[in-house]
Subunit: 321 residues, 2 copies
């Protein structure tokens, strides 16, 4: 029986992890987006339905991230296969949790499986990056890489593309809080200076190296000390009401570290154990409650596997038997 | 029988390892400096002899790195013990191989042993840094840390002092070449700009993270790709005749990466296996031969243990029995 229907989940992600601006991201177990791909005989890639976006996303396959990603993938493998796509959005758009990246990662992972896995997960990454180009204006990888590969990922270089997967300790849990305020990613980038003081850059790369060492050596104390951003956070946090108070509350509640998720407005903390992660989530929520700002809270293990197949016509058939 | 004489070796070091300016260093098995410490009843710390320095180093214990280090250590543990110091210099001064750091590390390690090891290796590091303050004008740790701890070390932070030891793969060999030209460390620092472009800083911290991952995951390919310095090397290499040709020769001969050792003039490469390290050493030497510049060549495993005790009155006594 040939595979002609597949439903895939891909996880939300936190990019710009503290000291690792533009290079470090990680995936969380939930939330995430889902895509359903079905082969068709139309010879075309079509977005047939989008659920959960409040009507905000385009259904034109050339303008929708999932559509662009699947078309780029099919073109690269020289296939004229028609595919219908249904998109399930499970997280807020523009929240800094890698919403477009999760859709892109799920779409390319599903398409690759549907076509018999001609490429590896690392090989399909560039197609997911094309989805980011449509969504954000540049083909950045710091959300799609962890969504597609799982765990922590380090983008060593874009030219050539060089992505390193970093294993993380089992007890590492993330808290992500989405305060319902609007931050424009383009403003968030514009506010950054083109030049940075050398002494701060040195401190930043000392922290990046130490964070990688802490993760690989399972040294929670070192992870905690390294989750420091002396360059981006002091500037971008000015755009985020309540940031300083939320950070203080998170650290006092036992977080290993705290920072901006992507370019905000979501905030993240890394924590040792689920219980601490939950305590921290509520401590942050209290701060925003006090400011009259609504929040969505997410507590989750760091996702280690990337996308997962939820069902397919093969699994359905197996169940029937 | 109480310990009242000890002879200790501490290794030469390469600091400012490629992308890891001011934070990353490593120790090599040889060369290195030796110190002999003997308890005396004078109540004073004295430099009684210096061998191999060509008469260049001060014998006043308040001006000599080893003297300063031992005095600072004794003061910290509240001891008025008199100690006589003999210093054996086995590497060129001002070569960028951590000559002063090796003497400082050997001295404090020896003094701690002589006094019954009241402090740990990490706890004696600040005293060795005092030796660097005398020798170089600032209490930097990027040479003394690897000389004292062995392996690769990462200085995450100076304030508070936070040093991380990074294990390295067994087959990692270093080539260090000292071309006999004079570079003033102060000039080498003055030539650096106070501000760096953010995009280059990002590439640098991506490389630092990837180099740490490569070392810990024993991924030689990743180590090689990460040994890139886009900020310091392009500026400082202008002070070093033959640098570009030596780098090209080293990489063509199979080096994983190549760069300036400390602030020069010595150059280093990291290599997989001793044979490649030797081939690379000779390839670099050929370049300098062609320029009429003499070189000293050192090929060595990355030192994993730091200082070692060569002999003591206890070991001598054991041999007699």
């Amino acid at each position: 029986m040939s595979l002609d229907y597949i439903k895939v989940f891909a996880p939300a992600t936190v990019a710009n992890v503290a000291c690792g601006f533009d290079v470090l991201g990680f995936a969380i177990d939930s939330p995430g987006d889902e895509v359903e791909l079905t082969k068709s005989d139309t010879g075309e890639v079509r977005i047939t339905k989008i659920i959960g976006d409040g009507g905000k996303l385009p259904t034109d396959a050339d303008k929708n991230t999932a559509g662009v990603v699947v078309k780029a993938f099919l073109e690269a493998i020289g296939s004229k296969q028609g595919i219908d796509i249904v998109l399930h959005k499970h997280m807020p758009l523009g929240s800094g949790m890698g919403s477009s990246a999760a859709s892109s990662a799920a779409a390319v992972y599903a398409a690759n499986k549907l076509m018999g896995s001609p490429l590896s997960d690392l090989e399909i990454l560039p197609f997911a990056m094309e989805g980011e180009r449509i969504a954000c204006g540049s083909a950045h990888a710091d959300n799609v890489a962890p969504s597609l590969l799982g765990g922590f990922t380090l983008i060593r270089s874009y030219s050539p593309l060089d992505v390193v997967k970093i294993d993380v300790p089992d007890e590492l849990f993330a808290t992500v809080v989405h305060p319902k305020i609007v931050v424009n990613t383009k403003d968030a980038r514009k506010i950054l200076k083109g030049q940075v003081p050398l002494d701060k850059a040195i401190r930043q790369w000392g922290n990046v190296g130490a964070l990688i060492a802490g993760l690989l050596q399972k040294d929670y104390g070192l992870i905690s000390r390294s989750l420091e951003d002396v360059i981006i956070e002091p500037v971008r946090s000015l755009l985020l009401p309540g940031f300083d108070e939320a950070k203080q509350a998170a650290l006092e509640a036992g977080a290993l570290g705290f920072g901006i998720s992507g370019s905000g407005p979501s905030l993240f903390s890394l924590n040792r154990g689920k219980k601490t992660a939950e305590t921290v989530a509520h401590a942050i929520k209290s701060v925003y409650d006090g400011l009259g700002i609504e929040t969505d809270l997410f507590v989750s293990a760091v996702n280690q596997q990337g996308p997962s197949i939820i069902r397919s016509n093969e699994s359905d058939s197996a169940k029937t038997i």
